[in-house]
Structure formats: C-alpha cells, structure tokens
Amino acid sequence: MDKLLEVKNLKKYYHISSNNMSSQNAVLKAVDDVSFDLGKGEILGIVGESGCGKSTLGKTILRLHDKTDGQVLYHGDDLFEMKHQEMTALRKQMQMVFQDPFSSLNPRKKISSLIDQPLRIHNYGTPAEIVEKVESIMEEVGINPHYKKRFPHQFSGGQRQRIGIARALALNPEFVVCDEAVSALDVSVQAQILNLLLDLREKHDLTYIFIAHDLAVVEFISTRIIVMYLGKIVEVASKEDLKKNRLHPYTKALFSAFPMTDPHQRDKKEKIVMGDVPSPINPPSGCHFHPRCPFAKDICRQEYPPLKELESGHFAACWLHQES
C-alpha cells in the first residue's frame, strides 16, 4: 500500500494563561507525540471523547494549525517545511469537511460563490467553465443547481453538509479529513451523508480520515481505527481486529459504554469505567487512563506505556500487554 501520509511524533501544545498577571502558564497538550501512517485508499477513523485531541490532530495534519513539534509527511514531503505558495497549491489535494454545517459556511455568501471559491482561488478555468463545474458538483452531492443563488440559512442541516462536501470536492482532492462530519445531523440524514461520502470515495478514489465521537459511525465507515485519550493514541487496529480483540482497557470501556440498539442486550453489558475524563491541562501521571482503569498496576502510575505492535498491525499503549 502506498503511503499517502506519515505523521511522526506530532505535538500540538497550547499555552493557557489563566490570567494575564501570572507568569506561570499552563500547557494543554492537545496532541502529544502522535505517530501513524495513512495508506492510499484507506478510511482511517479517529475516535475518542471530548478533549482527546482528535479534532486538533485533524486540523494540524492539514496545517490549519501550527505544530509544536514533529513532522507531517505528505507523499514524503514535510508540510511544515513548505513555503506559503507550495502549501496553497497543495491545498487542492487535501481538504476538510467540518462538523457544524451552520458555522462552516459563510452566512453572507450564496451557494454558488461558496462552491466556486476554491475554483477561483486555484484558477480552475474561465468563468463559464467554473459555472459548469459548480453545477455539476452540486448535482453530484444531491443539491439541485436551481438553488445556487440561495443563502446557507435557507437549507436544512443535511443539505448544508452536502454543500460543505461539494466545496471540499470541487478541486478533486485525493485526501479529505472529515471532522465530525455527520455528528450534527439527524439520524436519517446522517445515513444519507455517510452513503454520499462512500460513493464519492469510490468514484474519486479518495482517502479519508474520519474523526467522530460516535463509535457506531466510525466502526461502520472506517477500515482502520485509532482510539485517542487525552492527546495520545492508546490503540490502533484494523476495524476487524478491533472488533475481535480490544486490547486497551479504555477501548473496552468506550465501546461497552456505547448504547447498543438492542433492548435485549441491556442487562448483559459489563460496566467498566467510572469517573470523569480528567482535564487535559494537567493529565494524570504515567498512563493517563490509570485513575479510571480497573487493572492499573504500579508502573501505570509512574510511566507512560509506549505504543507497541502487539499483533500484526494492532498497536496498543498499555502496560498490561508489555513489560517495562
């Protein structure tokens, strides 16, 4: 499999000043030493609870945020080494679909000028060619081109998300980060958008990173899944492996907490995890999960476990499965 993207020891820290007077700034490690590869044609799901850094990771990969440390190699070239012009040119190939279809479309722009914006920025062609492209892409995502003179607020959430997708796909990218792309939508509309994303992937040979907190959605759409907790990757495995064998206690807890849509199962579930997600500003020592982990040992409190390949292609960062 061709490597499209390599993320190496990526870190993204935020300095939080609690007030202007104090010189002691807290550091929020939103993404803390994250490494993974992404092969062409994959759909890599990233799951985790709020504050785990999945969204920051997605945006840093596209260099929408600056990094603190580490590398993001796209076809072998480091994005953060690129000059402004090179980066702008590369944006044609990597795109993003956002969570909130209400705030991710400029309310003052008509649909046509929202979709033709990327085409104009990257000098797609003559005005007539651009109009033609806008109409064809609107059809492709299932919005009647007849409505192109309308404003975003005149559409429903699902239709706005289609418009967001149309924009992202206008330049025929090869890599798209979907950040909670269906989370704000009603269930029946969510299914339509998931289908659309899958259709477009087949048609345009796309590679996705699919970030979501909804485990059912990620499990359905992804080929491989990364589980994150407080800025770190705790487990990576193919969808099938992860279903069969969840190695990290957090992964187990997360999946068991997810409500199943079968009332007959309700009393059979094991309840594992207790307590709250700790603040990412001052995470627990050692393995960040140890205060909530029923299997925590001494070493878990002292040292963060490395992410290790325990089975072929199945990584986990947990002391239960390795020696220090």
Binding site: A191, L194, F258, D276, V277
Partner: protein, 337 residues
C-alpha cells in the same frame, strides 16, 4: 392496562404563530405514562418531542405558542385548566425536569449546595441548616464523590457529567417525585459519562419510585432505558409500543427507516451502504392534512397525501398510524433483517 396511569395526554394540538406562518408543532397527540414506567419519546429535530414535554409542565412561551386543544391529566387533575400558581407548585414538587445543557439551568453565581437547599426551603418549609443537610444527602444519592465538599462548589467548577448529576439531584429534591421529564439528558455528554448518567437514572427510578419521560433522538439510549416508546414525526405520533415491540418488530415506515439508518444495525456487518431515508424532514410551515412522512415513504399512495391515517393496532399496546399498514408489515419486516 392494569397498571396505574400517572399522566395522560389527550388530543394535544400546539401551534406557534411566527411571521412566516403557523407552525403546527404537535398535532392530535395522545399518550400516557404509568407509575414507575419509563416512556421514551423519540424522533428527529422538529418532530415536536420537546414541545410535548413543555406542554406538560406549561413551559411553552405564549405567545407565540398556543395550546389549541386537548387535556393533560396528571393524578386526576387537568393541568391545562390549572392556574399558573398551581402548575408552579406542581413543577417544583411532583413534575421535575432535566435538560440537555445543565450549565444553563444552574445559576452560576450560587454554590450548588445552596441552590439545592433553596428547593427544600421553597417547597418544604425547612430551615437552612436542615435543607443543606438534605442537599448533601441528595448529592450522595446521585453518586457525587465527597458530596460534603462539592456542595460548596460553584457550577463552573464541576464537569458536565457532575453538573447533570446536580440537576438530577435538584429534580429529586421533592418528597414524592412523581414524574421526571428528561429532555436529551445525555446528548451533551461523552459516552462513558452518558453510560454513568443513564445507569444513575435507572437506579434512582427504582429507589424513589418515579416515572420517567425520556426525550431523545438516540435509538441507543431508547434501547437501554425505555419500557415503552412513542415515535414522533413532524408533530405526529406514528408508532407506539413496548421497547421490545418497537425494536423487534418496527412497523411504521418511518420507524423502519430510522432503525435502518443506524450504522450499528446488525445488517451492516458486511455492507458498505446504509439504507437511508431519502429527503429531509419537512418544513413544519408547509404541512398539509396528509401523512407528513408520505413524501419520503416507499409505500405512500394517493390517500397518504389527503388525510392522516387512523390507528392500526398490531398487538396489545403496539399501534401504528399508517394508511398502508398491512402492506408495510408484509414487506417491511422482510427488509428489516
């Protein structure tokens, strides 16, 4: 029904007058909740589930809202005929409510212990000290760790999950909490926290013998919590039954479509396409007299656009409102693997 009915709503019609026209938010809705039961009111945005809840404790802003007709009988009294004062008393003591975003329903400038104590002092004539002790007791009941200390915290010092626990404690502050209305209580929470809150609600329901009206869009939450389910679509009740009837034998085209839309559905183990319901939720302004689901429905016929169908009872307690009930049941169950 052999059980005792706690609340029943009959033929509720609620509309809102907006500048763009009349929004018929709830139409001809009837439902009941038995004592000790959890009823889930499920549907997508704009289906009228929250309006229904607000009709019960009369939190509908009027104007623009208008409760056109119907009755809400709670323990033998019609709430729609009560005075504001009477409803207010009821709201504090026998009907309590928790919301999606607990931060907005807690007063940010008071300590949570004081806010809880206030509820006791207002409705039960307690002394401050006694009320505070009761408050701590309640915080313990909702499993907040070290409740003696937490009582002196302000709302912003607590996590989202903890705040929702405080809200639940507040709802339990009444001596006989008859009915708790939970409007999307876990939607803003992470899954591991959601699981804890749902657990807590189930525990408490048994402990204090209350009924729960659970409003949610999440079929997973319904499957975990509900005894009975009412499915709503665009202001109308379209299916009603026990949780097992609804999940094992969904019979209204909308319920079928909703369950088929879930990626967690077993039938998608080896599939890469979901069976989505086509189209969008209709604009409540432009609804006709027909079945609101007709334009998205695979089984719709001419009659569907003309009038809203009557009830078809499939089993005891399991009904759907669909013109083509027999056809849908024959064909629908086949596609629902």
């Amino acid at each position: 029904m052999s059980e005792e009915t706690l609340l029943s709503m009959e033929n509720i019609n609620v509309h809102f007058n907006t500048r763009r026209g009349v929004v018929k938010a709830v139409r001809d809705l009837s439902l009941y909740i038995n004592k000790g039961e959890t009823l889930a009111l499920v549907g997508e945005s704009g289906c009228g589930k929250s309006v229904t809840a607000h009709t019960i404790n009369q939190l509908i802003p009027m104007p623009p809202g208008v409760i056109e007709s119907g009755s809400v009988i709670f323990q033998g009294r019609d709430l729609l005929q009560c005075t504001q004062r009477e409803v207010q008393d009821l709201r504090g003591t026998q009907i309590s409510m928790i919301f999606q975003e607990p931060m907005t329903s807690l007063n940010p400038v008071f300590k949570i212990g004081d806010q809880l104590a206030d509820v006791f002092m207002a409705h039960q004539d307690m002394k401050k000290k006694e009320a505070l002790a009761k408050a701590v007791e309640l915080l313990k009941l909702v499993k907040i760790p070290s409740p003696e200390k937490r009582a002196y915290d302000y709302p912003h010092q607590l996590s989202g999950g903890m705040r929702q626990r405080v809200m639940i404690a507040m709802a339990l502050a009444s001596p006989d909490s008859g009915l708790m209305i939970a409007d999307e209580p876990t939607t803003a929470l992470d899954v591991t926290i959601q699981a804890q809150i749902l657990d807590l609600l189930n525990d408490l329901k048994d402990k204090v013998n209350m009924s729960l009206l659970l409003i949610t869009h999440d079929m997973g939450v319904v499957a975990e919590m509900a005894d009975r389910v009412v499915v709503m679509y665009a202001g109308r009740k379209v299916e009603e039954g026990t949780v097992y009837q609804i999940f094992d034998n969904p019979s209204h085209p909308y319920t079928l479509g909703l369950l088929n839309s879930l990626p967690s559905n077993d039938k998608y183990k080896n599939s890469t396409r979901l069976e989505a319901i086509p189209g969008n939720v209709p604009d409540l302004l432009s609804l006709g007299e027909g079945c609101p689901f007709a334009n998205r429905c695979n089984w719709s016929s001419d009659v569907c656009n003309k009038s809203f169908p009557g009830k078809t009872e499939l089993a005891e307690g399991h009904s759907i409102w669909c013109h083509n009930a027999t056809k849908v049941i024959a064909e629908g169950t086949k596609t629902n693997g």
